[in-house]
């Protein structure tokens, strides 16, 4: 069952088509990776799907509903949650507070309710906190929960970003290069994390550079090059695919007789 379908998605910046006529589907409960060489349009595709960029043309359908070019917070409300690359977190809040704040969509009380401290608002606060603690422990950053986010080591920052994504109760979680800049050991931990997220019934779409990690974790892979989809399939198929090898290594006849 497809949870998300992308039809002929195109994004042009002036004359340049950063994403050109890309179509694929994401199946419920799978881990789908989008890969491609530098400048292939991965990041643009990621922003289009999470509605941080409006598409030039094409359509994104999530659970049967057209969500193309809606506002990021509306799409988030429907369960499409993105995380950010690198260190996009609330630097001056503690780890726990970061995740508590990210529970925004669970609020039953109104903002006025929170202002006056109604019973529902107080129950909400307590529930956010319990849930945040649970997510933090699940991702293995429990010992760091009282640290200011800006003081966290790199690997933990990535986990914090993912924790905030999970706090929003995603149906599909979009991870932007979750393994970038990690050593082998950190990558293994992060791989476990992503598998754990899927284990909770969350569909995962990730955009990634790190080939070995992608091959290990993905159910299926979509390959982009120069903004176009050049291949789609299981990791083993992708590894054998001529077009993919060409895109990554260059055409053999172009090489200067090495």
């Amino acid at each position: 069952m497809a949870i998300m379908e992308v039809f002929n998605l195109t994004k042009r910046f002036g004359g340049l088509a950063a994403v050109n006529n890309v179509s694929f589907e994401v199946r419920e409960g799978e881990i789908l990776s989008v890969i491609g060489p530098n400048g292939a349009g991965k990041s643009t595709l990621f922003k289009l799907i999470s509605s941080f960029l409006p598409a030039t043309s094409g359509k994104i359908v999530f659970q049967g509903e057209n969500i193309t070019s809606q506002k990021p917070h509306t799409v988030a409300r429907k369960g499409v949650i993105r995380t950010f690359q690198e260190t996009t977190i609330f630097r001056d809040m503690t780890v726990l507070d970061n995740v508590v704040v990210a529970h925004h969509l669970h609020s039953r009380a109104s903002l006025a309710g929170f202002f006056f401290g109604t019973r529902i608002a107080r129950e909400d606060e307590a529930a956010f906190r319990r849930s945040a603690e649970e997510i933090i422990d699940f991702l293995g950053i429990g010992p760091m929960k009282r640290e200011l986010a800006k003081n966290l080591p790199h690997g933990y920052l990535r986990a914090l970003g993912i924790a905030m994504g999970m706090a929003a109760d995603p149906k599909i979680l979009l991870l932007d290069e979750p393994f970038a800049g990690m050593n082998a050991e950190e990558t293994d931990t992060a791989l476990g994390m992503v598998r754990g997220i899927r284990g909770r019934g969350i569909t995962v779409l990730l955009v990634e550079h790190d080939m070995p990690a992608v091959m290990k974790i993905s159910d299926r892979i979509v390959v982009l090059n120069f903004g176009e989809k050049i291949a789609e399939g299981k990791p083993a198929e992708i590894q054998e695919n001529e077009a993919v090898i060409e895109a990554y290594l260059g055409r053999e006849d172009e090489e200067l007789g090495i």
Binding site: S50, F52, K71, P72, H73, A76, R77, I81, R82, T83, F84, T88, I89, F90, R91, D92, M93, T94, L96, D97, V100, V101, A102, H103, H104, L105, S107, L111, F114, F115, G117, A121, D124, E125, A126, F128, R129, R146, L148, M164, G165, A167, A168
Partner: protein, 334 residues
């Protein structure tokens, strides 16, 4: 610090203000007037601070205070409404203008937002000057009556200001505005709304990624900000019994920003402390009056260089602090 201690300190401060200050200023109406003016400037300034709190710099608060002032003046002198209706009306009128201007304006970030707001005060002054049929142009609206009595079910809640000591009555009106504003501001900052505002301040994209309606929250903050400006503007109409296009000038708008800086941008009571210290300081040091802009400018540079978190950061009194990052969102269990 426990809730009870905080409560006790707040009650003591309020008691000192409403009993101690009039006693100290007894027979010296000039000084009482200075305190009264400072208290309502602090109310207007609270709005500017809230906009700092969502990560924008509003240098146009004077425009909204002027709009509120005119709204109150017109309501009282042309429509014959009671001041007690005119004041909330002025707040709402200023808020309506704020929302209309804020919707497009708040999409701008950083210096662009500030530059536009900087021009707002001058725009408001020119508008007040040229819309003669509404504002009476450069002559202003004069001889506005003092607030009359307010009776509910035949019981006089507030006496007619003309029949009592006008200076003391205005002082208490200012005191009520001051206490209510800062109590509400404290509550906002320490409720979930405050957490959301802080999340906007730090990263709007991240906030929208987990479903926060960022544009709406920005407008809510701006609505609160401009409401306070309108109410404050209405107060000065009652106090001065007149309003001119130059009642609030660009200078005033920049002073509001400076008061926030001096007090401390991360403390709820920062704008209050900043306003009282700077405004009263200069009223007392009359001789320096002509150098005021110069000294303010130097002070501003000095604070930014050496005291970027404001006066309250000198010895951070925890109970005054709005943002205690090391404290968990929903009460500590440490």
């Amino acid at each position: 610090m426990t809730r009870n201690r905080k409560m006790m300190i707040a009650v003591a401060a309020v008691l000192f203000y409403v009993v101690g200050v009039p006693w100290l200023c007894a027979g010296r109406n000039y000084y009482l007037g200075v305190v009264t003016t400072a208290s309502v400037l602090a109310v207007i300034c609270a709005g500017v601070w809230l906009i700092f709190y969502i990560g924008r710099i509003n240098i146009g608060q004077g425009a909204f205070a002027l709009a509120g002032g005119y709204a109150a003046a017109i309501a009282v002198s042309k429509w014959g409404l009671s001041f007690w209706i005119a004041m909330p009306f002025a707040g709402l009128a200023s808020m309506a203008i704020g929302i209309l201007i804020g919707l497009p304006l708040l999409r701008l970030k950083g210096v662009y937002f500030s530059m536009i707001t900087l021009s707002l005060t001058e725009t408001a002054r020119l508008a007040a000057q040229s819309l003669k049929s509404i504002t009476n142009g450069p002559n202003g609206i004069l001889n506005i009556p003092l607030p009359r009595d307010l009776s509910i079910f035949g019981i006089t809640v507030i006496p007619d200001f003309a029949t009592v000591d006008k200076h003391l009555a205005l002082f208490y009106l200012g005191a009520v505005l001051l206490v209510v504003t800062y109590a509400a501001l404290y509550r906002i900052v320490n409720s979930r709304l405050g957490w959301l505002f802080r999340s906007l301040q730090q990263n709007e994209d991240l906030a929208s990624s987990f479903g926060v309606n960022v544009p709406m929250l920005r407008v809510i903050a701006f609505a609160i900000c401009t409401f306070l400006a309108g109410v404050g503007g209405a107060f000065f109409v009652a106090m001065q019994q007149s309003i001119y296009p130059a009642t609030f000038a660009v200078q005033d708008s920049t002073y509001f920003m400076l008061y926030c800086f001096i007090g401390g941008l991360s403390f709820v009571f920062g704008p209050l402390i900043g306003t009282f210290i700077l405004y009263m300081g200069f009223e007392v040091l009359q001789g320096f009056k002509e150098y005021q802009p110069l000294l303010y400018a130097l002070l501003m540079i000095g604070v930014m260089l050496w005291l970027p978190n404001g006066l309250l950061s000198l010895r951070p009194p925890k109970f005054l602090s709005a943002k205690m990052p090391s404290r968990p969102a929903s009460g500590g269990d440490v």
